[in-house]
Amino acid sequence: MADTHRPPEEFTLRMLRYDPESGEAPYWDEHTITLEPHRSVLEGILQARARFDGSIGIRCSCRAAICGSCGVRINGEPGLACHTHLDHARDSATDGVIEIEPMGNMPVIKDLIVDMDAVHWKKVQRVTPWLIAKQPVPEREYLASHESMVDITQTMACIQCGACVSDCLAMEVDPGFIGPAALAKAYRFVGDPRDAEHDARLRDLAHDPQGIYDCTHCFKCVEACPKDVNPMGQIMRLRRIAGSDFKIVDKNNGERHEAAFTTLVRDHGLLWEAELLPRSYGGNSRWGKFSPRAGKELISSLPAILKALARGKVTAMGALKPHKIPKRDLESVRSIYDRIEGREERYELNLYVTGHDEEEPTAAAGAGSAGSAPTTTSTEGSPG
C-alpha cells in the first residue's frame, strides 16, 4: 500500500483576489494553511476560507474531480483545484508559494470565479449539443457497437470545467473560435452512431472559419484536461472524418491544406513550404498554384510571404525546388505512408478506452509489494 499517513505540513497559498464592488484592481492575498501534503489545493483554499477569510470566492462542490466547478490556474497552469495535490503544486511553484488565479479567456466575476456562461456555455450551445436521433426511433434501444459507445464515452467524460478553454491559444487570438470543449462535445455526436446529422454537423464545423480548422494544434487543451478527454484529438478526428470520410472541401481551405501538407511530405520527405500555401488554396497538385483561387489568395498573403523571405525562412531557390533528402530516408517516409494508408480501418487514438491485459515484466514480483512502482494507466494504448 502507498503510505497515506503523512503528517500535515504548512503550505502558503497566494490567491489573486478581485472584488467587483470595491472599484479596486485585483490583488494578491496570502494565507498559510496546514494539511497533509497529498490533500488538494481546493482543501487548502477551503481551510483558508474556513479559518481566516470567509469571503474568498471559488466555485466548488464535489471535491472529487467530477462536478467541474473548481477550474482555476495553479502556478499559471489550468486545472481543477480539487485535482491538484498541495505538495505537487508547491513543487511546481517558482518560490515555494502556491499561486492560484482565475481561469483565462473568460471574464472574472469575483476572486477565482469566472463567467463561464459568457464564453464556454455559449460555445457549447453553438455546436447543436443534443442528439438528433435517427428515425424511426426503435421500441427498445438503438443497436450500437460496444466500441462506439466506449469511444464517445471519452468525450462524455468531459465535465465542462473550462480548463481547456482557459488556456486555448487559438481562442486567445480569436475569441470567436468555437474552442476545445465545445468541439469535443461536437465529436460526441459525430461519433455517435445514433445521430442522423453527421454530415450537416461536419459541414457546419468545417465551413465555419472559427470551427475545426481554426485550431492551431498546440496541445494546450490536451495538457489542461483533468479527465483525459483529449479535446485537440477530438478536433483532429472531426477533421479526418470531415475530409476523408465525408469529402468535405471547406471554404477555409482546411481540408486542402492538410492534404497538401501530407502530399508534400510524402513526395519529398520534408515539407516544401513554398508549395504549401498555393496548393492549400489552389488544389493539391503541382498545378494548384496556377489556379485563379490560389492567385487571389497569394496576393492577399503577399505580406506574409515577403516577411518569410526577409527573415530567411524561405529562399528564392527553396521556392523553386523542394528540399532533398537521401533516397533511403525518402523510402522510409513513404513506407510509413504505405503502412498507415494500407490499413483497412483508420486507427483512432482514444486514451479513455485503452489498456491491455498484458502483464508487465516485473509482475512476478507480486501485486502486494508493487507499492511505489510507477505505472501508467492512461497513456498505454491502442496503436495510433
Partner: protein
C-alpha cells in the same frame, strides 16, 4: 415578478427530468438551481441505473429485491410503479442520447449490483450519473425556448398563500445578490439530500438539505429520516466514493487477516449484499480489531481480481480517484476503504406523484421520501428514483397547472428574507465561525448517528444539535458583499442542515428497533409488531413532533432478511 406554471428548485436528475416532462405537457416551466445544473450532485452517481430490461428479468423481481433491500419498510405501491416503469425510462434515456455501454449484440450491457438477484444495472463506465445529467442538460439546451433556466439562484424560502398553498419561492441571484419573489402554480423541490450534515460524507459540498428544511419549515412532514445510508466503500483518505460497480465487476473485501469476511455475514451474496449489511459487516470487523491501515480503521477493497483492461474501461473514474486521492493503482493493489455517509433514504413525504401534503408543493429525488427505499436503498436505484418520480412530479404538476389560475404571491416573505440576510451580514464577530459549527455537527453525527447507534449516543447528538442551533443564531461571517457572497449562503445552509440533523436524530431515537440502516445496539432485533411503520416528523412550534404512517404492502409480506 416572474411567474411560471411549474417552478422546479434543483437541477440534478430529478429536477431536469421534471422540467422536461412538464414542458412536454405544455406548461410554462422554469428550473432554478444554486449551482449550474451540470454541477448538481447527481453528477457523482457512478455505477448505474437499475431496470428489468433483460429478457430473463422481470420487474417483479426488481421490485421484490427493492422491498427486501428496504427491510420491508418501503411502500410497495410506489416500488411497483418505480420498477415497472424503469425499462421504459431507461429506453427513453437511451433514445435521447445517453451513451450506455453495450454487450456484444449491441444491446445495453448490464452489470451486477448489490442486493439484486440478477444483473440489471445499465451503465456508462462508472460515470453513469454524469452521462445522464449531461444528456438531460443537452435536452434543456435544446428546449431552451420552453424551459427557463435560473442558474446560480439560491432559494431562501417557499412562499405560501393565505390558505397555506405553495405559490412560489423567494430566491437570491448568487451573482448579483439581488432578491426576488417568483410566483408559481406549482413548486417542485428537487434539490437533493443532506449529506453535508455528516463529516465525512461522499456527498458534495452543496448537499445541505435545503429543500428538506424549506418544506419542513412550511409544515410538510418528513418521513424515514432516521434511515441514513453508509456506503460500504468510501475512501479512508477523505471519504470519496468508490463505486459499488467495483464489487459488481468482481472486487472483493478483505480484512487485516486477508480474509474475505463477507462469507460470515452474507454467504450467498457476499460483497453484493445490500449496503446496510455490507457496511455493518465492515464496521464489525473494524470494531473487533481486524481493520487495516495504521489505526485499523479501514478495510481492503481488492479490485486486482478484475481484468485490468476491463477496469480501465469500465471503472475508469475510480482508477483516477485511487491514483489522485490515495496514491494507489487499484489495478495493481488493494485500496483502503470504510463505510461512509452516502444517502438519506428519508425526506419530504410525498405520494406516488410527488405531491407533498402542502398543496402546490411537490418533491422528487433524494429530497423526497415516497418511500421506495424504506430502510435501505439498493445501489443504482437512486438514479431510477430521481428520474421516475421527477418525471411523474413534472407531469402531475403540469396537469394541475392547467386547471388553476396563477396565484398571487405577496412580497412579505421577500422582505422577511432580505431582513434575515441583512441580520446575518450585520452580526458582530463575537460568536463562532459558521465552519466550526458545521464541522462539529458533522463529527457529532458521524460519531453517534452512524452505522451503530444507541440511546445514549443519540441523546448526546440531540443535545449537541440543540446547542449548535443556538450558536448558529449568532455565528458570524466575513463577507459583507453582494456579488457571489458564498459566506452568507453558507450561514443559511447551516440552518437547513441543523433542521435536517434534528429530524434525523429525533426519528432515530424514536425507532426502538434495528431495521435497514438503523441499527440500535440497545434494540438489535427487527420488531415488525411494533415498528413496521414509517416515522413522520412534523414541525410543531419550537420542535419536531413525532408521528407514524403505515407501510403500504401489496404483494410481499415481511420475512427474515438474508443475503
Amino acid at each position: 415578478m416572474p411567474a411560471h406554471d411549474v417552478l422546479i428548485i434543483g437541477a440534478g436528475l430529478a429536477g431536469q427530468r421534471a422540467a422536461l416532462a412538464a414542458a412536454l405537457e405544455g406548461a410554462s416551466v422554469a428550473i432554478m438551481s444554486k449551482v449550474h445544473p451540470v454541477r448538481s450532485h447527481s453528477v457523482a452517481a457512478a455505477g448505474g441505473i437499475n431496470a428489468a430490461i433483460s429478457v430473463d428479468d422481470d420487474w417483479h423481481s426488481h421490485a421484490y429485491d427493492t422491498v427486501k433491500g428496504s427491510d420491508f419498510l418501503g411502500d410497495q405501491d410506489a416500488i411497483e410503479i418505480m420498477c415497472s416503469e424503469a425499462p421504459h425510462e431507461v429506453m427513453h434515456l437511451e433514445h435521447i442520447g445517453v451513451t450506455f455501454h453495450r454487450n456484444e449484440k449491441g444491446e445495453l450491457d448490464l452489470r451486477a449490483f448489490g442486493g439484486a438477484s440478477v444483473k440489471r444495472t445499465a451503465y456508462v463506465a462508472d460515470i453513469t450519473g454524469q452521462a445522464i445529467l449531461h444528456v438531460l442538460y443537452e435536452q434543456l439546451m435544446k428546449h431552451h425556448g420552453r424551459v427557463e433556466r435560473y442558474e446560480e439562484w439560491f432559494t431562501t424560502s417557499l412562499v405560501q398563500d393565505a390558505d397555506g398553498r405553495c405559490c412560489g419561492v423567494v430566491a437570491r441571484n448568487v451573482r448579483s445578490g439581488s432578491m426576488e419573489t417568483f410566483r408559481a402554480k406549482n413548486v417542485i423541490l428537487a434539490c437533493g439530500g443532506a449529506g453535508q450534515v455528516y463529516r465525512p460524507t461522499t456527498n458534495a459540498l452543496i448537499v445541505t438539505g435545503d429543500g428538506i428544511a424549506q418544506a419542513y419549515r412550511v409544515g410538510a412532514p418528513l418521513m424515514d429520516m432516521e434511515m441514513v445510508q453508509y456506503h460500504p466503500t468510501t475512501l479512508v483518505e477523505n471519504g470519496l466514493l468508490i463505486t459499488e460497480g467495483a464489487r459488481g465487476e468482481g472486487a472483493v473485501l478483505l480484512n487485516s487477516e486477508g480474509e474475505r469476511f463477507m462469507e460470515k455475514y452474507a454467504p450467498n451474496k457476499m460483497e453484493l449484499a445490500s449496503r446496510d449489511v455490507v457496511s455493518r459487516a465492515e464496521q464489525t470487523e473494524i470494531l473487533e480489531g481486524r481493520g487495516v491501515g495504521a489505526d485499523g480503521s479501514g478495510i481492503y477493497l481488492d479490485i486486482t481480481k478484475v481484468p485490468r483492461k476491463r477496469t480501465l474501461e469500465a471503472l475508469r473514474e475510480i482508477v483516477n480517484i485511487g491514483k489522485d486521492f490515495a496514491g494507489v493503482d487499484i489495478t495493481r493493489e488493494p485500496i483502503m476503504i470504510r463505510p461512509g455517509q452516502h444517502y438519506i433514504m428519508g425526506g419530504v413525504k410525498t405520494d406516488v406523484n410527488g405531491a407533498t401534503s402542502i398543496e402546490g408543493l411537490y418533491a422528487a429525488g433524494e429530497v423526497a421520501c415516497v418511500s421506495v427505499h424504506g430502510g435501505n436503498r439498493l445501489g443504482a436505484n437512486s438514479l431510477l428514483d430521481t428520474l421516475i418520480f421527477g418525471r411523474r412530479a413534472g407531469e402531475h404538476a403540469a396537469k394541475r397547472a392547467l386547471s388553476i389560475p396563477m396565484p398571487d404571491a405577496s412580497d412579505a416573505q421577500l422582505h422577511a428574507d432580505v431582513a434575515m440576510i441583512d441580520e446575518i451580514l450585520a452580526r458582530e464577530r463575537t460568536g463562532r465561525r459558521i465552519s466550526e459549527i458545521k464541522d462539529e455537527l458533522g463529527d457529532t453525527m458521524n460519531q453517534y448517528v452512524a452505522v451503530y447507534r444507541d440511546q445514549e449516543g443519540l441523546q448526546k447528538a440531540h443535545e449537541v444539535i440543540g446547542r449548535l442551533k443556538q450558536e448558529a443564531q449568532r455565528a458570524y461571517i466575513d463577507d459583507r458583499g453582494t456579488v457571489f457572497n458564498q459566506d452568507v449562503l453558507g450561514a443559511i445552509e447551516l440552518g437547513y442542515m441543523l433542521d435536517c440533523a434534528e429530524a434525523i436524530v429525533v426519528a432515530a431515537i424514536e425507532r426502538k428497533e434495528s431495521r435497514g440502516a438503523q441499527f440500535r445496539t440497545d434494540f438489535p432485533e427487527r420488531n415488525d409488531e411494533e415498528w413496521l411503520k414509517h416515522i413522520v416528523i412534523s414541525p410543531n412550534g419550537d420542535g419536531p413532533q413525532v408521528g407514524y404512517s403505515p407501510v403500504t404492502m401489496t404483494q410481499w409480506q415481511p420475512e427474515e432478511r438474508k443475503y
